[in-house]
Amino acid sequence: MIDLGPHAVFIIWAYLGVATGVAGLIGWTLYDARATAKKLASLEARRR
């Protein structure tokens, strides 16, 4: 990695924070999508 200068720790923390935030958001969106789809499938199956 290139030299990030004296305040490297803040830069790394910033990118780490954003990375976890975005990863969490993507994870939650996918999880919610799958859970709702599964519930919908089970309800559709039960209705027929």
Partner: protein, 253 residues
């Protein structure tokens, strides 16, 4: 509310039908995801490997590459919500309710990330994590509004009635944001002049601007992709609710 009221099937009415909207936009999901990923890779490469440090701030300017896109998104997502709110109230467009509900948590997170990166950028430049300066404070108030809207969505049982009420609050919020911005700026003296979109154009050299714009588009497409995916989920969740209601009526023994 009957959806296809007008005789001619303009595309505006056709995407009004949830099933239709999902069918049309699902093929868009994968290309958008790939585009977002590519933009992020290029952006990060530019940010870390191919841009000089700022003459004043040194390397901390690299935090700006994530801070400014998030700050911009916090405003942009609220704009999307305000337009959806208009769609709900004026044209009673069912997909407007869905997009408004899907956008709220995304906006809240981008605003929170803007504050987080702003605090980390502030530490070396101002010496403290949190400084009551104009832009940071108005972003904080915007975060409160977002979280209020998320709490409002969770508090309602009946989602359809909720959409119109929350649309009213979103519009009221939209009107108040400029007022808040102005009053906060007036209130705080310590304020860094907006260096990117100033009237006489950006004051930064091209080499810093390119990573900024690439990251900017990367985050915007990330939002669009997640928004579409969340809208699909919301459409399915409403279908689940109607099926549950039918299940209750269907089986009165």
């Amino acid at each position: 509310m009957s959806i296809d009221t007008t005789p001619k099937q303009s595309w505006w009415n056709r995407i009004a039908h949830p099933g239709q909207f999902v069918a049309w936009t699902t093929p868009l999901l994968w290309p958008l995801t790939i585009l977002t990923a590519v933009l992020f890779v290029v952006g990060l490469w530019f940010a870390f490997f191919n841009s000089p440090e700022d003459y004043q701030m040194g390397d901390t300017v690299r935090i700006m590459y994530v801070h400014v896109p998030n700050a911009w998104l916090s405003q942009f997502v609220y704009g999307v919500m305000a337009v959806s709110a208009l769609g709900t109230l004026v044209w009673r467009h069912p997909m407007a309710d869905v997009s408004m509900k899907a956008a709220a948590p995304l906006g809240a997170l981008f605003t929170a990330l803007a504050l987080f990166t702003g605090a980390l950028w502030g530490r070396p430049t101002w010496g403290t994590f949190w400084e009551w300066d104009g832009r940071m404070t108005s972003t904080l108030v915007l975060l409160f509004i977002y979280l209020g809207i998320v709490a409002l969505w969770r508090a309602f049982d009946d989602q359809l009635r909720a959409a119109r009420v929350i649309a009213v609050f979103t519009l009221i919020g939209a009107v108040n944001i400029p007022i808040i911005k102005f009053s906060v700026d007036w209130w705080s003296t310590l304020h860094q002049p907006a260096s990117v979109f100033r009237a006489d154009g950006p004051t930064m050299p091209g080499s810093i601007l390119t990573p900024l714009f690439v990251m900017f588009f990367a985050f915007t497409f990330l939002f669009i992709t997640l928004q579409l995916k969340a809208m699909h989920t919301e459409v399915r969740r409403r279908r689940v609710m109607t099926l549950q209601r039918k299940a209750a009526q269907g089986s009165t023994a």
